[in-house]
């Protein structure tokens, strides 16, 4: 286990920002922190990085307490973006790389590679204030990963980027993960977590709603979704035992069932009526899980 948080709590005055969370991030995994504004994602990251002292609980990295002695192994992209506006791109990135223990020569070589990869080579000697917001974000991401860290923490890495740049960034993150880095990132977009992560944690107002392997979470959740498309009237389905909810939009019906075992019974009943274009059993979406656990819609 690369990173382990036990009963981690952070209280600001009368407000509990993070409420006793227990998370295990496996080494080499891509771990998603999902939650809306004020869920506690950034506070958790700041505690991991020792920027905030936990009110209680512990954080261990490879079995040891995290401290400034291991910051060279960690890369961090904060949610609030910003670089020294008056510095040139190379000066800024090389300074941050040197703070991570890199030599100037190695950092310069790595900078060239990443500028090339993000297609911003022409900006190397430009002042940061002259760059577009999207390009500044790319430079900041380069600064956070240039030292090839073991653990990369990315706070809302995709926010504010156009779709093309989101794809470039996703590819880079996937590559870093493939090369062995453990990556933790936060987002409020469920599709990013579903696409990139094998492990996740959903936070809501400081509380840990659910965490672990996504497939396992969905499996354990039990509920499934059935989509049926056809001309026949199937309103009777909502009275079948195990059916939790049914929505009908023209000739398409979306049915939630308490367990996969009820799907077969439903299938048998409708095939007796006649032909249906589609009968599909889906895994529950993260939104379904969120609603079921929290009792309200996500965001």
């Amino acid at each position: 286990m690369a990173l382990e948080m036990t009963d981690l709590t952070k209280v600001f005055g009368e407000q509990t920002a993070v409420d006793s969370i227990n998370i295990k991030v496996p080494a080499g995994s891509m771990y998603g922190f999902l939650g809306g504004n004020g869920a506690g994602k950034t506070t958790t990251f700041r505690m991991i990085l020792q920027l905030l002292t936990p009110t209680s609980g512990s954080i261990l990295y490879n079995g040891k307490s995290i401290g400034y002695h291991m910051t060279n192994q960690i890369g961090y992209l904060p949610e609030e973006r910003g670089l020294h506006p008056k510095l040139k791109v190379s000066e800024q990135v090389l300074y941050l790389a040197e703070l991570k223990g890199m030599s100037k020569k190695d950092a310069d070589k790595a900078l060239d590679y990443w500028l090339e990869r993000f297609k911003v080579t022409e900006n190397k000697f430009k002042k940061i204030e002259k760059l577009s917001k999207g390009n500044q974000q790319k430079i900041q991401l380069i600064a956070s990963i240039i030292h090839n860290p073991e653990l990369i923490i990315l706070d809302e890495p995709f926010s504010g980027l156009d779709p093309i740049n989101v794809e470039i960034l996703k590819d880079a993150v996937k590559d870093l993960n493939a090369q062995g880095s453990t990556i933790i990132f936060s987002t409020h977009r469920m599709e990013h977590v579903e696409e990139l992560c094998e492990e996740l944690c959903i936070l809501d107002r400081g509380k840990q709603i659910v965490s672990g392997n996504i497939d396992q979470i969905k499996q354990d959740f039990g509920q499934k979704e059935i989509i049926i498309e056809g001309e026949h009237d199937i309103a009777f389905i909502k009275d079948i035992p195990g059916v939790l909810e049914m929505k009908q939009i023209r000739n398409k019906s979306v049915i939630k069932i308490a367990d996969e075992k009820y799907a077969e019974d439903i299938y048998n009943r409708i095939t007796d009526i006649g032909f249906f274009k589609r009968f599909q059993v889906n895994e529950p979406s993260l939104n379904d899980i969120f609603i079921a656990k929290v009792g309200r819609d996500y965001e």
């Binding site: 920027l51 400034y68 910051t71 961090y76 609030e80 670089l83 020294h84 000066e91 703070l99």
Partner: protein, 400 residues
């Protein structure tokens, strides 16, 4: 330590390479070169110093006294037998009356020299008519010896010689130079260091930085870099000043103002250097602490007000208390750490203050600097990720 040096180097070299640093240093040094060579510069543009050929209509006896006297006042005036640019007509010798007729106006300094020479000649004439011996004449010019005595402390009724209040002008110049320089550098660098810290915080890059280096280590590296830059600037300006002084007509200046070293000079130079450096470190540490409270650049001037006010009060005490430097109020203020660097050298200048008060002053400053730096580190660590808009809100947040 490497991380400390990384931050130190970035701040130090970017400040040293900054145009503002180079321009202000050059302007001040150039200003000093101009000030020290002002007489030469004025001379370059002064066309009044042209040679004046003066024709004097008087008898030989008058001329024999007047000519050498005039020569001693003004070398640009030459006595001509005929065809002079101006004619000095001695209308009467008892009492002396003269008339100066000019083809064109002569300079005011030449006019003044002629007047002085005439007065001097008149005096010689009058003395001559009194038929005084040379000895009597020299006795007339003798200074009257006066002894100033004050009652001694014991009750014996005896008196002892009063301290001479005469202040060595060179020492005074050294003191003024150090106080003015310190005040300017404090105002300049206090604002720079607070801007630097607030800027970094408001640009939010600080979160990436403090995830790599301890906040206090980062702050100390920045403060030390700024102090080093300021000390280098002080050194460059002082060095430039000395070179300017050396290349100027120093002997004339020394003669004119009686600038000469005395047994206090070395002491004053050493203590002035120590107090300038300690003053800079103290005020810049406080500015760093105040900068840590600030999250928005608009609050910067408001946040820096304590530094501005304290340094200004110290500066005015130092400049204004010259004539009553042995006053108890001055002695007390010299032990208030924020005024010590300004007021302590003043005490050394005007009376026989020994080494002890200076050493106490230095110790007070070192302790205050340590406290200010620790406080700056404490505040910085707690406010580095704060986005509270107001300074007061930030202080409340830190106190929690």
């Amino acid at each position: 330590m490497n991380k400390f040096m990384t931050t130190f180097n970035l701040t130090f070299f970017s400040k040293l390479k900054a145009k503002s640093f180079l321009i202000t240093t050059l302007i001040i040094i150039a200003g000093m070169f101009i000030a020290f060579n002002l007489d030469k510069i004025i001379g370059l543009f002064d066309s009044d110093d042209e040679e004046l050929r003066l024709e004097v209509e008087a008898d030989e006896t008058f001329l024999s006294v007047f000519e050498p006297t005039l020569q001693s006042y003004d070398e640009t005036i030459e006595i001509a037998g005929e065809d002079g640019d101006a004619v000095l007509d001695i209308v009467n010798t008892d009492p002396l009356e003269a008339e100066l007729r000019m083809n064109e106006e002569i300079s005011s300094s030449q006019e003044e020299s002629i007047k002085l020479a005439l007065n001097e000649t008149n005096r010689a004439y009058v003395l001559q008519t009194l038929e005084l011996s040379e000895e009597e004449i020299s006795r007339m010019y003798e200074e009257v010896p006066v002894e100033f005595l004050v009652a001694s402390d014991n009750e014996s009724g005896n008196f002892e010689a009063a301290d001479s209040d005469e202040t060595n002008i060179l020492n005074m110049i050294i003191f003024y130079f150090s106080v003015i320089l310190m005040f300017i550098i404090i105002l300049n660098y206090a604002s720079q260091i607070a801007t630097e810290i607030a800027n970094e915080k408001s640009s939010r890059v600080i979160e990436m930085i403090v995830s790599s280096i301890r906040p206090t280590q980062h702050l100390m590296a920045k403060v030390l870099a700024m102090i080093s830059v300021s000390v280098i600037q002080v050194g460059l300006i002082t060095g430039g000043g000395l070179i300017a002084f050396y290349f100027s007509d120093t002997s004339a200046l020394l003669d004119q103002f009686g600038l000469e070293t005395n047994d206090q000079t070395l002491k004053i130079v050493v203590y002035c250097i120590i107090f300038v450096i300690l003053g800079l470190i103290l005020y810049l540490s406080v500015a760093a602490m105040l900068g840590s409270f600030i999250n928005r650049m608009e609050d910067l001037q408001q946040g820096l007000m304590p530094v501005t006010f304290l340094s200004m009060i110290g500066y005015f005490i130092a400049l204004g208390a010259m004539s009553f430097a042995d006053n108890i109020a001055v002695t007390i203020t010299s032990y208030f750490p924020f005024f010590t660097p300004f007021v302590m050298p003043l005490r050394l200048l005007v009376n026989d203050t020994g080494h002890m008060p200076m050493i106490i002053g230095i110790l007070i400053m070192i302790i205050t600097i340590i406290i200010a730096l620790s406080l700056a580190g404490f505040v910085y660590k707690r406010s580095v990720l704060s986005t509270e808009s107001g300074i007061i809100k930030n202080i409340k947040r830190i106190k929690k």
